[in-house]
């Protein structure tokens, strides 16, 4: 059976060009980049090239790029590293209610250690309010962390404007741009950010490699102490193969950004129109325009999300009910609750995220099948749709 993969926000297949770039670092060029002999120097030189590729993709200096093992580690490092470094100055952090769990749970952990966190609400399309932000800033606020684009509903936050406000107050500003890279332009200079998290596996790179951009000169505590790698900021022998892969993936992503955006937007709109037009009591979650070009997120009244997913899977379609990393949890999505959906409705969500290889035929197939699936599940439901 042909599979239609529509969960590119969860992870992407690795681009064959990227795989090709990795392989030599698993075979010949296996040296430890910290070693001074030829094998080590070759590895070192390579990872500096990859660092430059990432830097170019986000308009940073290569010395501002620090490799981590994931977007999650980058988020943890940014939040905890700034908090611990500045705890004498203040212990107040501002973030939003719709952040990724890597940010939220880091903040919650800090609360247990005596920090105070303000979780800004969002409106019904998932945007934070700049007024709320201004009002939340206190004398002891040391960090603001607001995500660039939401992984569930795709809403794009006004990072540039937030950056301006935060910068004026001299507070450190972090943004989780894991979902932004490769989908919308990311320019650290334009955005006024001090820290920015990235992850390779969302842009056709491998899982297990991330980046934290740290603006030059910004003091931050280490999250992982040890050897002198990453300019003494992040210990652990460098994951050379995946670093090379991330570099290449970032290069490809920036080079093809415009065309990919157009491609995804077209199919996303085809999908949204199809679903809203053909399925009664369906709603689109997130902002109608300020949303990721590949993201569509729906709620269907009177049915439960997992049932939709399983039904889709059986006919070859891979979709998700929110973020992948919380499956296994029974709680409705914190993002859908934050935009004001009742728990019952939030349970019936479906996220379909489009990628480079998605075709218009795929979308037609999905829409047509979804119509049937939703009907079948509603027929099975004890809740009266009238």
């Amino acid at each position: 059976m042909k599979r239609i993969y529509l969960d590119h926000a969860a992870t992407t297949p690795v681009d064959p060009e990227v795989v090709e770039v990795m392989i030599p670092y698993l075979t010949e060029t296996f040296g430890n980049p910290s070693s001074i002999y030829a094998e080590g120097r070759a590895a070192k030189k390579s990872i500096e090239k990859a660092r430059q590729q990432i830097a170019t993709a986000i308009n940073a200096d290569s010395r501002e790029i620090y490799f981590t093992a994931s977007g999650s580690e980058a988020d943890n490092w940014a939040i905890k590293g700034i908090a611990m470094k500045n705890k004498a100055k203040g212990k107040h952090i501002i973030t939003s209610q719709i952040e990724h769990h890597a940010v939220l749970h880091s903040c919650e952990y800090l609360e247990k250690q005596g920090f105070e966190v303000t979780y800004l609400p969002v409106d019904e399309v998932g945007l934070i309010s700049l007024e709320d932000l201004k009002n939340a800033i206190r004398d002891d606020t040391i960090l603001v962390s607001i995500m660039f684009a939401n992984n569930e509903i795709g809403t794009i936050e006004p990072i540039k404007e937030i950056g301006k406000i935060v910068k004026e107050k001299g507070i450190v500003f972090h943004t989780d741009a894991v979902q932004a890279l490769g989908n919308i332009p990311v320019d650290v200079k334009d955005l006024n950010v001090d820290l920015l998290s990235l992850s390779a596996h969302k842009i056709y790179g491998p899982k297990g490699i991330g980046v934290l951009y740290i603006k030059k000169g910004l003091p931050i505590d280490n999250l992982i102490h040890g050897g002198a790698q990453e300019r003494k900021k992040r210990a652990g022998t460098e994951n050379t193969a995946e670093i090379m892969a991330f570099g290449k993936a970032a290069e490809i992503a920036s080079e093809h950004l415009e065309e990919n955006m157009t491609h995804m937007k077209t199919l996303r709109d085809q999908l949204i129109e199809g679903v809203l037009g053909k399925i009664p009591l369906a709603r689109l979650n997130g902002h109608p325009e300020k949303r990721l070009p590949g993201n569509a997120n729906f709620c269907f009244a009177y049915i439960e999300g997992e049932s939709i997913l399983l039904s889709l899977d059986v006919i070859g379609i891979a979709g998700s009910s929110g973020s992948a990393c919380t499956s296994g949890s029974l709680d409705p999505s914190h993002v859908l609750l934050a935009i004001g959906l009742p728990a019952g409705v939030a349970h019936g969500s479906l996220r379909l995220t489009i990628g480079k290889s998605t075709t218009p035929e795929d979308i037609d197939y999905v829409v047509n099948n979804l119509v049937e699936i939703i009907q079948r599940l509603r027929d099975m439901s004890p809740i009266d749709a009238d």
Binding site: Y302, E304, S307, L310, V314, G328, A343, P382
Partner: protein, 124 residues
């Protein structure tokens, strides 16, 4: 989370979906853990034997599969026997359920008990 083939079969082609027009025992329960709802319809004859059973479920794959399996297991049984059906019996029949989904089978056992109780209440 990994469902067994039996679970998937019972989810994709559930048995006994829908309402029984002349049901004389109907039970509905909701899961506090996830907010899902299960409704069981029973047709019980004068000898206290369940002649037919059906369900309507708003819930996850495990809930649908548990409903399907549980109704199938009690058809032809006496209400005494059916009342003793434990959620673990359903789980066993399904070849197991992921830990976080055990409560969905509890829903099925409870819905059956509620339906039997409803029948008894009506008769009394």
């Amino acid at each position: 989370m990994e469902y067994t083939d039996v679970v998937m079969e019972n989810f994709t082609c559930p048995k006994h979906v829908g309402e029984i027009e002349d049901a004389n025992g109907v039970g509905q329960v909701g899961s506090p853990a996830c907010g899902d709802i299960m409704k069981i319809f029973l047709k019980i004859n004068d000898n206290g034997i369940i002649e037919n059973a059906s369900f309507k479920t708003f819930g996850c794959g495990a809930a649908v599969a548990s409903s399907s399996m549980a109704t199938d297991m009690i058809i032809g049984k006496s209400i005494e026997e059916a009342g003793k059906l434990k959620n673990s019996d359903v789980v066993d029949a399904l070849g197991g359920l992921p830990d976080v989904k055990i409560h969905c089978s509890v829903l099925a056992a409870e819905a059956i008990q509620a339906a039997i109780q409803d029948y008894k209440n009506k008769k009394a």
